[in-house]
């Protein structure tokens, strides 16, 4: 579904990604792991169209996304929940969700979209008129995921959804992602919380210093000694 081949990305003169190749199949949950500064956010931003890659290709369902503006990529069925949520704080939950259905592909199914999001996150229904600014971190994360879901995506990408969220809520969010996936949406998840990510994903890649340093089935990676040392040691685990 999503194919990335030999992707190079840079900010000005600083090369961030080199020759990244990975793929996400329909119906899969794929995780991208790696330390801070490895380039994970840059990768997601490149796919979502916020950053033009220097070289390589990003193909979604066979179509090259390289030249498309970000909002058109949403129209193709690819939605990103950005790092830090990036919600519209001055607007209500309902308005944020509604804006999620802005793209033409989602406008017709807006009502169904609302139902889906409120079913997944009943808390949000009660707070739908509340200003997003006044919500807790966990609730904001729910709105962020919900907003992306409203665009009726085929592939949902998330950048560090567990960041700054209480552990109990992290489990809840992962469960929601599993439910979303069961409903037919592929998930590409960037996470520093390795146990949570590998507990959810089918497959995973490891990104280090802008390069793919490893990949495999989630279960295999959990047992991999390098991964265990680097990411599952006492300092890396946030549980």
């Amino acid at each position: 579904m999503l194919e990335i081949r030999d992707l190079d990305a840079a900010y000005g003169d600083i090369r961030v990604l080199s020759g990244v190749t990975l793929s996400v199949g329909a119906g899969e949950i794929v995780a991208l792991l790696g330390p801070n500064g490895a380039g994970k956010t840059t990768l997601l931003n490149s796919i979502a169209g916020l950053l033009r890659p220097r070289a390589g290709a990003v193909r979604f369902e066979g179509e090259d996304l390289g030249a498309l503006h970000a909002h058109l990529i949403v129209e193709r069925g690819l939605a990103l929940v950005p790092e830090g949520r990036r919600l519209f704080g001055g607007m209500s939950v309902e308005e944020n969700l509604e804006l999620g259905a802005f793209a033409p592909r989602a406008r017709a199914t807006k009502a169904a979209g609302f139902e889906r999001v409120y079913a997944l996150f009943p808390d949000l229904y009660q707070r739908r008129r509340q200003l997003v600014r006044s919500l807790s971190g966990g609730q904001q994360q729910m709105v962020a995921v919900g907003r992306a879901l409203m665009s009726n995506p085929k592939l949902l990408m998330l950048d560090e959804p567990s960041l700054g969220i209480a552990p109990r809520l992290v489990r809840s969010i992962m469960a929601s992602l599993a439910a979303i996936n069961r409903a037919g949406v592929a998930v590409f998840l960037v996470e520093q919380n390795v146990p949570a990510a590998l507990g959810l994903a089918h497959r995973a890649y490891v990104l280090e210093s802008g390069r793919i340093a490893g990949q495999g089935a989630a279960a295999d990676l959990l047992r991999d000694p390098h991964i265990r040392r680097a990411y599952l040691g006492p300092l890396a685990v946030r549980e």
Partner: protein, 288 residues
Amino acid sequence: MNILAQQLVLGLLIGGLYGLAAAGLSLVFGVLKVLNVAHGELIMLGGYAAFWTVALLGLDPFVSLLLVVPLSLLLGVGLYWGLFGFVVRADEETRIKNSLLIGFGLGLALHALAVLLWTADERSIVTPYGGSIRLAGLSVPIVRLASLLIALALIGGLHLLLARWRWGKAIRATAEDWQAALLTGIDVRRAYLLAFAIGTGLAGAAGTLVSIGYSTSPSIGLEWTLKALIVVVLAGLGSMLGTFVGGLVLGVAEAASAAAFGGPYREVVGLVLFVVVLVVRPRGLFGR
């Protein structure tokens, strides 16, 4: 006492126009992060458009709004496509600096163009009706009162537009976080275009009301740009209604200072307030 109250009322009446003038500038600055210091010249052009519409077509001055506002919207589209659309390609800091400079050049060019086309003379639209009504013992000129009410209606309409219209919400979202807006599927360039066009439309409306109640000439540009800037800084960004109130505040403050220190110092109080608020509280009185 009555004289002071009278002056304050007149200040309130022009304050409504200050608010309308500032609303357009505030919208454009808030959404595009572009500081169009030629906004006053756009107001001036609106005034002339109204003047010539009335002179050539014989329309009622207030009805000319129905022609001038659409024309101004079109002008806004043209200015965005031809000029400011390029400015928004840069990052925010460069945008503000470039738009300031470009607005400056645009203002000069439009001013010179206006003098070339219509001479430097002042023009005023004379309404077939006039006079004042008595409210609470004060004399309120009808034409200026009507202008205030129209300005209020336009601001109210703008508020509704931003709150209820699909693209109005998109504009607000873009103002908060344009990258998040893109990720939500909003064509941010279209949002920019709409915001700029609406801002120019508001300027045209303000110009029309100015030339009806007061007068227009090529030189009013700088003066009105400053008024709009003062109100934007006083009221802060983000609320159209707050901006309108800021305009009223400026109008009343000017009237009060004229009453206290004499007519010539009317301008100074606004400018001093401006500098003080800039240095002390850049977010303004209402802004977030």
